[in-house]
């Protein structure tokens, strides 16, 4: 009995092998590609959602599988979930991939790089295995600046706090400029999102439970990571964190911040929607509204946000298959225009900048600090 596979029983036996989750072209629906792994890593179906459903069904039915190969196939997935968006009958191939990951953990058959990633998250609270205290390096020295508008607890997430720290620093600057005191959670750890993607759902649930317990207090909680928002949404809690972009839009509306585009910068910006935006289109809308409010013309990809193809930032791809993850990011940038890109998903920003340091890809706060003039 394989409990993770058995839980997907309906999906395993309903797949009609239609191939939508492998690759499909449907211009009217804004669909140009489906699986980033098939596009940039291997064209084999075994790397796609249909491959995962077929492998899961075979394993569920008791067939002996080549587990090292299965692990290589299943852990070379960014878990972006596009396969689920395109499935004509609403099946969950990405969940099948996660279930296979979970079963592979129970068989102790995961690739060593995956094990290292999970160990890093559990030991140091971040996927890179950097010392735990590096997470709060975005926090400047304690400031005595007045905070007339209140206090905020800012949880930037691994990507903004470590992977692309300039985003967390920029966000904190904007919050302070708006008149708020910004607090970090001492010893703040990972919310479990990357661990969940690696197929360790139970430990991921424990991490978010711990984080929620520690964050619960008097202060509003602000998040930068979209994957972190997913973790919070999976956890039952009355505490409702606010995404930084939403928070900023609200402050601009109140007049707490006045921002104008710097005279020297172009006025066009392209939205880099992420797989997380597909699942929560509100962030696509919010970032678009923010850019417009700031006076920028926003270019939106024809397939956004429903059919964006993953840039390779998620699912452990940058560590597990770095060259393919880099190609995914490259393919994504090639689809978008030559103007600066802005993404609400800081993990995407970090991945683009790490795989191509010259890439003009920004998180919302960093974009504002580099492209706008602050008028407190």
């Amino acid at each position: 009995m394989r409990p993770h596979l058995a839980a997907l029983h309906k999906d395993l036996y309903h797949c009609a092998d239609c191939n939508y989750c492998v690759d499909a072209v449907w211009e009217e629906a804004g669909l140009a590609h489906v699986c980033a792994t098939v596009q940039s890593h291997s064209p084999l179906v075994s790397y796609s959602g249909r491959g995962y459903l077929a492998a899961a069904r075979a394993w569920h039915e008791g067939r002996a599988l080549d587990l090292p190969t299965l692990a290589e196939r299943v852990f070379t997935c960014s878990t972006c979930g596009h396969c689920e968006t395109v499935c004509p009958i609403g099946l969950r191939p990405a969940q099948a991939g996660l279930a296979l990951r979970a079963e592979l953990w129970s068989e102790d058959a995961v690739p060593s790089v995956t094990r290292t990633l999970a160990d890093n998250i559990l030991r140091e609270g971040n996927p890179w295995g950097l010392p735990r205290n590096i997470r709060n390096e975005w926090t400047p020295d304690a400031s005595d600046a007045p905070a007339p508008r209140g206090e905020l607890l800012y949880l930037p997430g691994c990507a903004a706090a470590i992977g692309h720290v300039s985003e967390a620093r920029a966000a904190a600057t904007l919050m302070r400029t708006a008149g708020f005191a910004v607090h970090a959670l001492k010893g703040d750890g990972c919310c479990g999102a990357p661990l969940h993607e690696l197929g360790r759902a139970e430990e991921a649930a424990r991490l978010i439970a711990t984080l929620v317990r520690r964050a619960t207090g008097e202060m509003p909680v602000i998040l930068s990571g979209l994957e972190c928002a997913g973790s919070w949404a999976r956890h039952e809690t009355s505490l409702r964190p606010v995404q930084f972009t939403d928070w900023l839009l609200a402050r601009l509306g109140e007049g707490a911040l006045r921002l104008t585009p710097s005279p020297s910068v172009g006025r066009e910006v392209a939205l880099h929607d992420s797989c997380q935006c597909r699942n929560s289109p509100a962030q696509h809308e919010a970032l678009q509204a923010l850019c417009k409010r700031l006076g920028f013309t926003v270019l939106i990809s024809a397939n956004a946000p429903r059919h964006v193809v993953c840039c390779g930032a998620a699912g452990g791809m940058p560590a597990i298959a770095p060259e393919s993850a880099r190609r995914m990011a490259e393919a994504r940038r090639a689809e978008l225009s030559q103007v600066p890109l802005i993404s609400a998903d800081i993990r995407c920003v970090a991945h683009h900048r790490q795989s191509a340091p010259e890439a003009q890809v920004y998180g919302p706060a960093e974009f504002i600090l580099t492209h706008c003039t602050l008028n407190p």
């Binding site: 009609a16 092998d17 239609c18 492998v22 211009e27 491959g51 599988l65 009958i89």
Partner: protein
């Protein structure tokens, strides 16, 4: 060097796969047909590579199955005899768009979605686009007789093929149609018998298609839909026959007919309180495309023709269902049966328009005699005649062999009702063998081209013994 190593000796090793997990996804297509188990997967990029594989496979007698996206529902790509799967999806180039000759030439792995995307800016389209267009490949459509959007205007996919490039089982590469003489596709017929037709719908048994030339058509500038309700299928058949004989499908790209149960099911699912004075016994939906004045003119003629056959406009079916078929907003995968059962066996047949009532009687008889499955029936209206689809929804975990047997019984029943096999693959193999003179000739052709019978054994009832194991029909 063993036979399998020899087969792929001239192929880049990066495009040769032997792992069980990779082969798992090449066992079957969308059909009810039993899966096969190949031991080697090759992703060629040229006809020269395919030629090499076939020559070497011929020497060792190794079976070879060509495959596109595997979206067909006749089991043609299932490697029943094991051997090698040739995945043609890497051959995905559009080779030529020649507006002067009105021809587009593509490799077999080109998806219809990609082809439409390339032709649209030129104001062009191809004649037949299957409902699985986003994933289905042109090579698969040619090999397995696709139908869909365009059938009302142009008949079948095969009618739209100008010529082919084919790798024969012994590795020779031939061009058919005018390309055989001058290397350019502009005419299919004239040079003696139609060799192009030999490979269309051949399910890979006589050769591997490596290029397909299709006629180009203007992309319709105006589209609209209309649905008509008829008291019964007899009246509807009369209307459709009149429509076809007066060639009033000239500006209709897609047309289909629905029986009473489907009509009620679709409408009530969308409008639970809908209660007309009387429900139609049959409904015909027409999807028009062309220049607007011509379409409007034909719409008016067709409305009059419908009224003469007892039809009344049935706009609610159009609103809740039919018009959404355009751009494939609804797929055949979306049939309600999928949500109560796990998969769908589809048996596609051809029938003369007057046989529509007999076809529907057969579907009704299946419902009564095979209550373990959910049965559905629908017809696609062609330029001449109909394609009748019978659908059997079943639970694959518990009913797979039974569903195969039930499908075989359904096939026999359809032939008795005057239908002929369409999209043959393996699902119609047994019935095809019953047409003795035809099948013996087919087998002789097969033997002369492919004496060791390496190409797609089992398809069209052409196995190594010229007999295909057919599913047990006994209920």
């Amino acid at each position: 060097m063993n036979a399998q190593e020899d087969i792929c000796a001239e192929i880049d090793p990066a495009r040769v796969f032997r792992n069980q997990l990779d082969l798992l996804t090449y066992q079957r297509d969308c059909s009810v047909v039993a899966p096969g188990a190949a031991t080697l997967l090759v992703r060629p990029t040229s006809s020269a590579e395919i030629s090499s594989v076939l020559r070497r496979a011929q020497a060792s007698g190794t079976p070879v199955y060509a495959r596109g996206a595997g979206t067909m529902y006749a089991g043609g790509v299932n490697p029943a005899a094991g051997g090698v799967v040739l995945d043609l999806s890497a051959m995905d180039r559009i080779l030529e768009i020649d507006q002067a000759r009105g021809v587009v030439v593509v490799e077999p792995g080109v998806r219809f979605g990609s082809l439409s995307q390339a032709l649209k800016p030129l104001g062009l389209t191809v004649g037949i686009i299957p409902s699985t267009a986003p994933t289905a490949t042109v090579g698969g459509a040619a090999s397995a007789h696709a139908l869909g959007t365009g059938s009302a205007r142009h008949q079948s996919f095969a009618d739209e093929v100008v010529g082919l490039q084919v790798v024969l089982p012994d590795g020779r590469v031939i061009e058919t149609g005018s390309a055989a003489a001058h290397g350019k596709h502009f005419h299919r017929f004239g040079m003696g018998p139609d060799l192009t037709g030999l490979f269309l719908g051949g399910d890979g048994t006589l050769g591997v298609i490596t290029a397909i030339a299709l006629w180009l058509h203007p992309l319709p500038e105006f589209r609209t839909t209309a649905c008509y309700g008829f008291p019964d299928a007899h009246k509807a058949a009369g209307f459709i026959a009149a429509l076809q004989s007066r060639e009033l499908t000239r500006n209709v790209w897609y047309a289909s007919g629905y029986e009473a149960g489907t009509i009620k099911g679709r409408v009530l699912a969308a409008r639970p309180g809908y209660a007309p004075d009387a429900w139609p016994g049959f409904c015909v939906g027409l999807d028009f495309g062309g220049e607007e004045p011509l379409v409007q003119h034909d719409l008016s003629l067709i409305a009059n023709l419908g009224a003469a056959h007892g039809a009344t406009p049935f706009p609610i079916f159009d609103e809740v269902y039919f018009r959404h078929l355009r751009n494939e907003e609804i797929y055949w995968y979306g049939y309600a049966g999928y949500f109560s059962r796990s998969r769908c066996a589809i048996l596609m047949s051809s029938l003369a328009t007057p046989d529509l009532p007999r076809f529907l009687d057969s579907v009704q008889a299946l419902r009564e005699n095979e209550p373990d499955f959910l049965w559905g029936g629908a017809v696609v209206i062609c330029r001449r005649g109909l394609h009748g689809g019978v659908l059997a929804f079943y639970d694959e975990e518990t009913q797979w062999p039974e569903a195969q047997a039930a499908t075989a019984r359904a096939a026999a029943r359809l032939v008795e009702a005057g239908c002929t096999p369409y999209k043959t693959g393996k699902i119609w193999a047994g019935e095809l063998q019953e047409f003795t003179a035809y099948h013996q000739t087919l087998a002789q052709l097969k033997h002369s081209l492919d004496p060791r019978e390496i190409l797609s054994p089992g398809n069209l009832g052409l196995s190594r013994s010229h007999q295909t194991a057919r599913p047990e029909r006994k209920a």
